[in-house]
Each structure stands twice: as C-alpha cells, then as structure tokens.
C-alpha cells in the first residue's frame, strides 16, 4: 500500500498532531466527539482515559479539536516550524531523486 503523504512528504515524517496535557484534561471527550478522523481513542478503565492513538490521521495544520477544549488541554506543534520542516523534507526528497 502506498504511504499517505502531505504535500509530497510522507505523513509519518510530519510530527503534526495534538498533545494532551493530562494535568488539564477533564475527559469531557468533546475533542474525540468532534474529530471526524479518529485521531483520539478512549481507553476505558485506564488511567489515561483518552489518548492520541492515531496521530497520522490528524490533518496537518488543523487545530479544530483544540477549539472544543474548554480546559485548553490540547497543544499543537508550531505552524512555522512545521512548514519549514515540510519545505526541507521536500528539498531532500528532490535531492534523493
């Protein structure tokens, strides 16, 4: 199966996904209910009842779930850095043929 790409770069090389701050998360699950891409997964009976199980499903540059988070427990990578990284990886891709 061909690997998913974003702007020509393998998606797995782009570290874009939300990070949950468990100090703040109150497990309201709004983000999970909101996200149509199945990024989060609930874990009944575990200490961390919500995890970022499928970071590769997260749409690069999308922060929409963050807006549903009242306790502000979701953080995202820096957009500029991510853009720079993508640019670099694209260049590398070209060089490597």
């Amino acid at each position: 199966m061909s690997e998913d790409t974003f702007m020509g770069v393998p998606r797995s090389k782009i570290p874009w996904c939300p990070t949950i701050d468990y100090e703040k998360c109150d497990y309201c699950m709004e983000c999970d209910e909101f996200c149509p891409h199945g990024v989060f997964e609930r874990r009944e009976g575990e200490e961390k009842r919500l995890v970022v199980a499928h970071p590769e499903n997260c749409v690069v540059f999308c922060k929409a779930c963050g807006k549903t988070c009242d306790p502000d427990a979701l953080a995202f990578p820096d957009k500029k850095e991510t853009t720079e990284l993508i640019k670099r990886l694209r260049e590398d891709g070209k060089d490597g043929g």
């Binding site: 974003f6 702007m7 909101f34 149509p36 749409v59 690069v60 540059f61 999308c62 922060k63 929409a64 963050g66 807006k67 549903t68 988070c69 009242d70 306790p71 502000d72 957009k79 500029k80 991510t82 853009t83 993508i86 640019k87």
Partner: protein, 301 residues
C-alpha cells in the same frame, strides 16, 4: 512601579463599548469581568452580557456606531458568540486565557481571581485602549478585478459531484484556495469542503490588518454539522473580508469559488507560497483521489 511612557495613538475611551464574558466558572471569567471594570474606570462603556442577552433593546442605541471591544474569558468565546448572534461588528477582541498565556501566566480552574492574573490586567487594559482609531474602509481593488467568470471541471463520487476551477486558482492540501490578481489574493474554501462540511451557518472573518503566514488560520466556519478553520494558502496582510458571506454564509455552499470568497490578502511572498501549493489541474487530481478515499472511509466501504 515605573510607568512606561506610551505615545501610541489612543482611542477616545468614550467611543469604546466593552462586551465582556461574565463567566463565574473559572479564573479567566473573573479576570474578564475585572478587565471590563478597569476599562470602565478609564471611560469605556460596559455592556452587561446577561442583561444584553435578556433585553438587547436596552443597549441598542449605546451600541450604534461605536468601537466594540469583546473580552472573552476562554476560547469558548461566549461574548464573541453573543456579539455575532446580534450581528455586532467587533473592533477588537481579547481572549484572557490566550493573552495571559503569551505573558507566561496560566489562568486557573478556580473562579477566584489570583494575583498573577490580576497584575496583568492593567497592561491588557492599556493595550485595548491603544487600538488604532477607525480607518476609512479599505479599498477592495477595482470592481470586477476578481470577477472574471470561471469554468469548472467536475468529477463524480457516487451521487456527489465535485467542482474544481479549470485554471487560475491555487490550493493547499487543506482544501483552501487562493485566486491571485496582481499583488492581492482572494481566499476561500473548495467545493469539497462545502459539501462535506454541509450547510454553512456562521463565518467568523479574520480581523482586517491581521498578518498571516501560509497555513495560519484566516477565519473560521461553522456548519450544521461541524466547525472548521480556514487555513490560509498564502502569506500577507488581510485587507478585506467578504461582508456578504458574513451576512449569508450559505453563499459558500452556493458559489464556493467566486461569491463565496472569505478574505482578501495583500501578498508578501507569493512566489514562496506557490512552491507549497497545487495549481488547479493538480488539485483536481489530488481531490479526486482524496474524495474517493474519504468517501469510502465515511461510508465504511
């Protein structure tokens, strides 16, 4: 404490009306109330959000033709939403949790206002009072400058028909487009976005004057199904927003590529941006694959 001399132009506080959040469930709510009171002491007029919700007529006259400052406690944005529901034009918006965060202070969960946050409020009030005075409306280029008729190519996925302009548009992989004329671009969302997100009910435009980099948010949309950010395909300064779409967001559903544009941007580095964008034919191919794949996922096929 030493006071800084501030020579920035000041708005006459009497022209400022403040609509704050009055949240009582966490510290940011108390801070926004306190901030509103500070502004009131400096001459601004404060609208009570609870009373305004209950009887908007009371404030009708007070709100006409003034500069409206919104203070949201947190990102839930109740005060912003209230303003939007009543069709109020916002001159400036401050979100306490965000403003505090950029100053290294974390708003707490308990509603009582703590010293760290309280100490920030005078600076925030000063910042609000130095908003630039209203400018003349921004010229939106020559009429018809973006108005040339376009033709679209289309493809089907089952009963869905998706359209992509034949040429002249640039897209990012977040399905947002830019149509460039000279040094400006209009931006918007693609037909695919409007169909998969469903009927638009709300468009929150970016503030005019905002500097955006490629992939920054440049406004947001709410539909009957979901909410989404418009991810800018270009870098530059927002010089106009589509007021027609603010009034009638369904224009995005009806005509996503022309009348449904959302913002106009004075470009700063289009040559650089362009390297990261697809032209119309490339986006057509990209979208075709994506629509077929996502459709299968959505319907579990």
């Amino acid at each position: 404490m030493a006071k800084m001399v501030d020579n920035r132009p000041r708005e006459n506080p009497a022209d400022i009306v403040v609509l704050p959040c009055s949240g009582l469930d966490k510290e940011a709510g108390s801070a926004s109330r306190e901030l509103a009171l500070l502004l009131s002491e400096k001459g601004a007029y404060v609208v009570c959000p609870v009373l305004y919700q209950r009887s908007p007529k009371r404030y009708e006259k007070k709100l006409a033709g003034v500069r409206l400052v919104i203070i949201d406690g947190c990102k839930t944005g109740c005060a912003s939403k209230l303003a939007a529901e009543r069709g109020l034009k916002i001159a400036k918006k401050t979100t306490v949790t965000e403003a505090a965060k950029t100053r290294g202070v974390k708003a707490g969960k308990k509603p009582r206002l703590g010293d760290a946050l309280r100490n920030l409020l005078p600076a925030l009030a000063e910042e609000i009072l130095t908003i630039e005075p209203p400018k003349a409306p921004v010229a939106v280029g020559k009429p018809g400058a973006f108005g040339g008729p376009i033709t679209c190519r289309e493809f089907n996925v089952d009963k869905f028909v998706f359209r992509v302009p034949e040429s002249g548009y640039f897209f990012n992989e977040n399905d947002c487009w830019a149509r460039v004329e000279g040094t400006r671009a209009r931006v918007g969302v693609s037909d695919y976005v409007q169909q998969s997100a469903s009927d638009m009910i709300f468009f929150e435009p970016p503030e005019i004057g905002t500097e955006v980099s490629i992939f920054d948010e440049v406004g947001s949309l709410e539909t009957t199904k979901t909410a989404l950010d418009i991810i800018s395909p270009v870098s530059g300064k927002v010089v106009a927003v589509n007021r027609e779409v603010v009034e009638a967001p369904e224009l995005i559903n009806q005509d996503p590529y022309e009348r449904g544009w959302t913002a106009e941007i004075e470009l700063t580095d289009f040559e650089g941006d362009r390297e990261l964008l697809m032209d119309s034919p490339a986006y057509f191919d990209y979208l075709k694959q994506k629509a077929e794949r996502e459709h299968k996922e959505l319907y579990g096929g």
